[in-house]
Symmetry: D2
């Protein structure tokens, strides 16, 4: 069965800024979705901030294998309830990919538990992405490095937790470096952060970037059945303990009582 | 200079429950603080949920090297603003230690970005903690294992991110296991989770547990100067780039403008 | 294309010891291979210590996607040249699974760079394996725990590097615990250690163990093309630098000279 | 007590090459040792390849808290027995720091279990090291980045296992990047790899590099008592099991027999 992928686009600058519109006339989400659709193993749909509940409901997430997120100027407009829905879906097994300025999006910050800050410069300089984990599935079909002639600079220190694996590190013409591809796991969900994608440059039209996007969706997909309630903390009453034991000592909880949260 | 350590206690069951009061007549926080005070390198104070702002202000955190947190029945009563203050202090370099049922405390869940769920049973069964990282600083002075005759059971799967290091794994009489000592880093702050400490048992009177607490405070202490603003994401304007570059292509931001959040 | 899997068996006790022979009349490797063959996605063959070069040549490894290794009494008899072939194959992308007493095999110790020691007891006691990374691909189809009524005990501290992920932790009747399923990556090769499998018990006939074996082979398989020379350290001469630079200062090496090893 | 630090120098090019001699008239090891001696908490001595057994005996290692290793042209001349002594010392708790071309030294490759390969270029280009783990102890006193005007380039992919933490990433003028500061743990020993230090440039005279060296020795030092035998795999006979059990089923080993290796 194809990997059901939902591309979420903030879709603000595309409608406000001539440059962005000229590069992404149908929105950045549409360009990203088109790139993903080139893989017959991926079935893709899109939604944007402007739709009711930003197009994100519990039901829709239950039918999404991988969510791709791009946002920049309107992070604050994303409702906290939607962020909780997304985190719960990730914990239950949905994959998620955060692109570029989504480092400051609410769901990324929530999943990282960290500031996710960095330095930045918008000078259209050259970026060169180096593979640091050779033959990682996300690098399939890529050379040891590839270049983007014009990109925004993001510089270290990047305020994220140590990742499971560092897949890409970027070189910038202005002298900075950045860990540009990082993998994490939160609950049963795979998380990938990928740096490139400033809206005033044609980054998502780049073939190598598109290859990364396709690979990342395939990598992030967890084919196992979703966990029904990823926050469940069940009591195992004494008679049901795997080994036979006898209850001893004082207790706070009555039999069958739920734990405190 | 001594490590300025603040022990935060929820302090609810001590005042409601005869058993808990009898074991911890001055509150669990007092018992934990006494154990820490045995190390001349640690200077300790305490506070509780009931104090204004739960005894946690930005100024107090600025003067705290390591915060120790025990909570259980009243997690929801901790104010979200206080949680944000704590996370910011951790990101800027404050160490933090979460004890037992603090796995479901707001600051722990916030820093982990994960469900932090588990299974549990209150049967007064035997727990045996095994060292899995020999000669880790947190294991100083400990044998390869130690026992607690009566404890609440916490069982895997434990819904936390993969740690930097797994320091202890627990065996339970009823047949479960649990990763009982886990290290993390969030921003510049060291984070340690330590499992034992159910309030109806005299766990914090145990010598080995006290050794872990002392070691953990020493380990979690980051002596470097606190980061002034751990969320800062400074622009590096083109003239200040480490390498000389010329601005090219279109841009969204005007010179000197702050980034979007 | 099916995952070409080679099961390597030491095949010593099966021929010397009545008990082992009665449980594994065709050898342990045959039992393991049969279990793997139940997955149509796996194409399996076997070899043993007794074959010339232990059945391991560079060519055979080049045509092996995943190698499964069981050894115990004859670790020292494995030739060092064969160990180097195996390590090179792993670094170039071959997956490898080490079973039980293979914790002390030459290739495992070589890949870990660590003592790989543990405590042990042969008492036929009960082992219970707990999943610690819910919905990890290696846990597909498993409940949160499963039991082996008779197993050898392996106890912590286990002298291995911190893994990428801890997938299983074992509980033993005699009071010990052990990190029973650990993932690593070495070069482009995925590595999995799985604890159960003492030769005097019918462990590899167990359905849950067989499920782990099948899952582990699928997980360890890296479908990307093998790296031709995983030890290559190429010089990038100045004219071929990605950015134009001018050579400056003194140098040790003449143009075109290989680096020192 | 001061951290007993031994600086090991290959000491070949210093005696053969005019340029290297002019920069390091007393050898690179002497320059490194002088830098470390600036910290009153460090007590430093040196040895070289040319001394009997390269100056490395079991007794000397037993009295060494941290070993610093620089080698390049003569890796093959280091005796395998000495490499084993070093690994055993690390596993028992000795810290070790590998500098620059020591990425291809025998002890580093042995401890990593990986190819440790990279790309390289000797063009005297500019290197800029960025801190990627702010307020890590190894970064004490450093700005967010520092520069070396002339260095050899080392480029990704660097064939090492994923580290515990990535502390530095380097930018090179010629367009490459490299993970320049990586932490590992092997047994009870802390391991740090630090990239800079090509012998034809005055790198170890640089103040920031010297700061890293001092910090790294302090970080790598494990003050706990050394493990007597880091390879010990003791049997725990049934009567000594932590929980009372009865031996069941068949067994291979006679009581008191050692395990197989």
């Amino acid at each position: 069965m194809a990997i059901r992928t939902l591309v979420w686009g903030e879709n603000v600058h595309e409608n406000k800024n001539e440059i962005v519109r000229s590069i992404y006339p149908n929105g950045m989400h549409a360009c990203i979705a088109d790139a993903l659709a080139s893989d017959p193993n991926i079935s893709v749909s899109t939604t944007t901030l402007q739709e009711p509940d930003h197009g994100i409901t519990a039901e829709r997430l239950a039918n999404t294998d991988v969510l791709v997120w791009w946002g920049h100027v309107a992070h604050r407009e994303v409702k906290d309830e939607v962020v909780e829905l997304i985190c719960n879906a990730v914990w239950s097994g949905m994959g998620i990919i955060f692109l570029h300025s989504a480092h400051f999006s609410k769901p990324f910050k929530r999943l990282m538990g960290a500031p996710c800050n960095l330095t930045w410069r918008e000078a259209g300089e050259r970026e060169r992405l180096w593979v640091t984990s050779r033959n990682h599935p996300i690098t399939k079909g890529l050379p040891d490095y590839f270049e983007l002639e014009h990109e925004e600079m993001y510089g270290e220190p990047f305020g994220v937790p140590e990742p499971l694996e560092t897949v890409f590190v970027s070189w910038f013409q202005g002298g900075e470096v950045f860990r540009s591809g990082l993998t994490y796991k939160r609950g049963a969900g795979n998380v990938f952060y990928f740096r490139p994608g400033h809206e005033t440059y044609p980054t998502y039209h780049d073939k190598n970037v598109q290859t990364v996007l396709v690979n990342a969706v395939n990598w992030a997909h967890n084919p196992l059945a979703r966990i029904a309630d990823p926050n469940d903390a069940p009591n195992v009453p004494t008679p049901k303990a795997p080994e036979k034991i006898v209850e001893r000592g004082p207790s706070l909880h009555k039999p069958g009582e739920a734990g405190y949260r």
